[in-house]
């Protein structure tokens, strides 16, 4: 762990699409090993902010610092290798691959054998594959998916897809895991299980940035920021947020 107090620092981030400002001077931090939540109505800029932090969008203003380093110029891949990994609003599993292979793909970045080595099946290539398989079997068991491991991901229900996406991210040893609406499409039991996973991962030292509409799930967060038309209008614990008059007016509808 580095000397920086926070794993993620977002300072004065602004971005616009075709003259329309989607993010305006957004500031917040994610301390190491904490859970930070982002809420806001549809179109408030949550997903854009996610895309900016993970590198899918090159933003126009402000600074994104990961572990104290400015990552504006870094590719998505470089951020991922450094441990900044995201999931997607609609789970993007590799449908034509098995559950185990999906998780194995998450360990791709932990290994280094090249295409030529893989073609000729040199020792490093075989050792890499053994390592990937062992790790994936462990993670598969950890997430309770052993029985499904040879099933195509295509056949998984929504809840299992979410868990698979998280398992696939976790095998790559993330330090900041960004979850985009992880509870959408899940039933109550699945949400309860998801919540336990989020707490468990935090206990393992992984910081989590959580975007969700689900106020119940959001109570897992140490600190919550409310995004409204691209600006953070309130920050604090979930109980404070729920009492905030402005938030109630624009978002909670009370």
């Amino acid at each position: 762990m580095s000397g920086h107090a926070e794993i993620l620092g977002v300072q004065g981030v602004g971005h616009s699409f075709g003259g329309f400002s989607v993010l305006k001077n957004v500031n917040f931090t994610v301390p190491h090993g904490s859970i930070v939540g982002l809420i806001g109505p549809n179109g408030s800029g949550k997903t854009t902010l996610f895309n900016v932090i993970s590198g899918y969008i090159r933003h126009q203003h402000g600074l994104v610092a990961y572990d104290g380093e400015d990552v504006r110029a870094e590719s998505i891949q470089a951020r991922s290798i450094a441990g900044l990994v995201r999931t997607f609003q609609t789970p993007k599993v590799f449908e034509q691959m098995t559950v185990l292979e999906n998780i194995m793909a998450g360990a791709y970045k932990l290994t280094r054998s090249g295409v030529i080595e893989d073609l000729i099946s040199l020792p490093r290539s075989r050792a890499d594959m053994r390592r990937i398989t062992e790790l994936a079997e462990e993670v598969c068991a950890k997430f309770g998916m052993e029985k499904l491991r040879h099933d195509l991901a295509l056949r998984l229900p929504a809840g299992q897809r979410r868990i698979l996406e998280i398992a696939r991210a976790v095998i790559g040893r993330p330090r900041l895991l960004m979850l985009d609406e992880p509870s959408s499409g899940l039933n109550t039991n699945e949400i309860a299980s998801l919540r336990r996973w989020i707490e468990q991962l935090r206990a393992e030292g992984i910081a989590i940035l959580l975007v969700s509409h689900d106020m119940e799930l959001m109570t897992v967060a140490d600190r919550v920021h409310v995004l409204y038309f691209g600006e953070i209008i309130a920050s604090g614990g979930m109980d404070e947020i729920q009492k905030n008059a402005q938030v109630r007016e624009v978002y909670l509808g009370a």
Partner: protein, 315 residues
């Protein structure tokens, strides 16, 4: 299941080795072509099955292999190996130069870009007659010799092709089972998710494109040595379509599918030719039949039947 599969491969390979001496010459001749098509089709199959890329430009590299062999062995009197190596080097360099810009595209746009590549190359082969001999082509390409043993009959050449096919299949199998194979299939299924796991799609696709080009070039060099000539009619766009049909018909999900597809492309038109002038139409009907009735290709359909029978046998 794994043992059954392994046994099946061993038996099939043993048949491929033992049977041809007892087959009539024209059938062995077709087997040689099926082998050459397998090598070229394997490249296209890796792109289609592992990366989800439809490549309609394989003919470019097939022709480069053939012309490199023809030019160097006939005009420069270079040893056959030089033809193979130069063909491979030019194909790989060209695949890098073309692949890097076009592999940013995907879907139909990429397929069209590869088609355009094939059409342009065919026109150039025709125009650059100082190099390719134009419509007359280059004839008199020497038969291949291995340690003084001349491969001057279809049967002798067949065994060389069989060996090359076996090596290429083994290498492709290694690739598919490696971390690179995982990454390729991951980006085929969801590019965004693969990128989030640190996969670099453009680089990986370019590498597989180069690999595919190398396979096309080797197949082209073999074709030139076998036929003894290389001319522009052999490198038309319909041949490129055939190369894409190989994995489509056989089934892009498996390597065996490529062999089955290549056998189909080599044998079915020949079998149908006995029906006279309508044989091309019949071939078209056969193609449509396979594609409509077996969307996962011939091996995909067989695998489906196998799975159902295994599931049916379970209590």
């Amino acid at each position: 299941m794994k043992t059954a599969r392994f046994l099946l491969i061993v038996v099939a390979f043993a048949l491929c080795v033992a049977l041809p001496p007892y087959l009539p010459r024209h059938l062995v001749d077709l087997l040689v072509f099926a082998g050459i098509y397998t090598i070229a089709g394997l490249g296209v199959g890796l792109l289609l099955g592992q990366c989800g890329i439809a490549n309609l430009g394989q003919i470019v590299f097939y022709a480069i292999g053939a012309y490199a062999t023809a030019y160097l062995t006939v005009y420069v009197h270079a040893p056959a190996a030089v033809g193979f190596v130069v063909g491979i080097a030019i194909s790989a360099a060209l695949a890098l130069a073309i692949g890097w810009p076009i592999l940013r595209l995907s879907g139909y746009f990429l397929a069209l870009a590869t088609l355009a590549m094939g059409i342009i190359a065919n026109a150039l082969f025709f125009e650059w007659d100082w190099l390719t001999g134009g419509t007359l082509g280059i004839g008199g390409i020497p038969k291949l010799q291995i340690f003084g043993f001349v491969l001057d009959t279809p049967l002798r050449f067949y065994y060389l092709v069989l060996g090359v096919v076996a090596i290429c299949m083994l290498l492709a199998q290694n690739l598919i089972r490696s971390r690179t194979g995982l990454a390729l299939r991951a980006m085929r299924d969801s590019q965004d998710a693969a990128i989030s796991l640190a996969v670099n799609p453009r680089w990986l696709r370019t590498r597989v494109f180069i690999l595919s080009a190398v396979l096309g070039s080797v197949a082209g060099s073999l074709f030139a040595h076998y036929g003894g000539f290389a001319n522009v009619q052999s490198f038309g766009i319909e041949k490129s379509i055939n190369f894409l049909l190989i994995p489509v018909l056989g089934g892009a999900a498996s390597l065996i599918g490529v062999v089955v597809g290549a056998l189909f492309i080599a044998f079915v038109p020949e079998l149908l030719s006995q029906f006279g002038s309508v044989h091309q139409m019949l071939f078209g009907v056969a193609l449509v039949g396979v594609v409509v009735l077996m969307p996962a290709g011939l091996t995909g359909a067989l695998a489906g039947i196998w799975r159902r029978s295994v599931d049916g046998a379970k209590p």
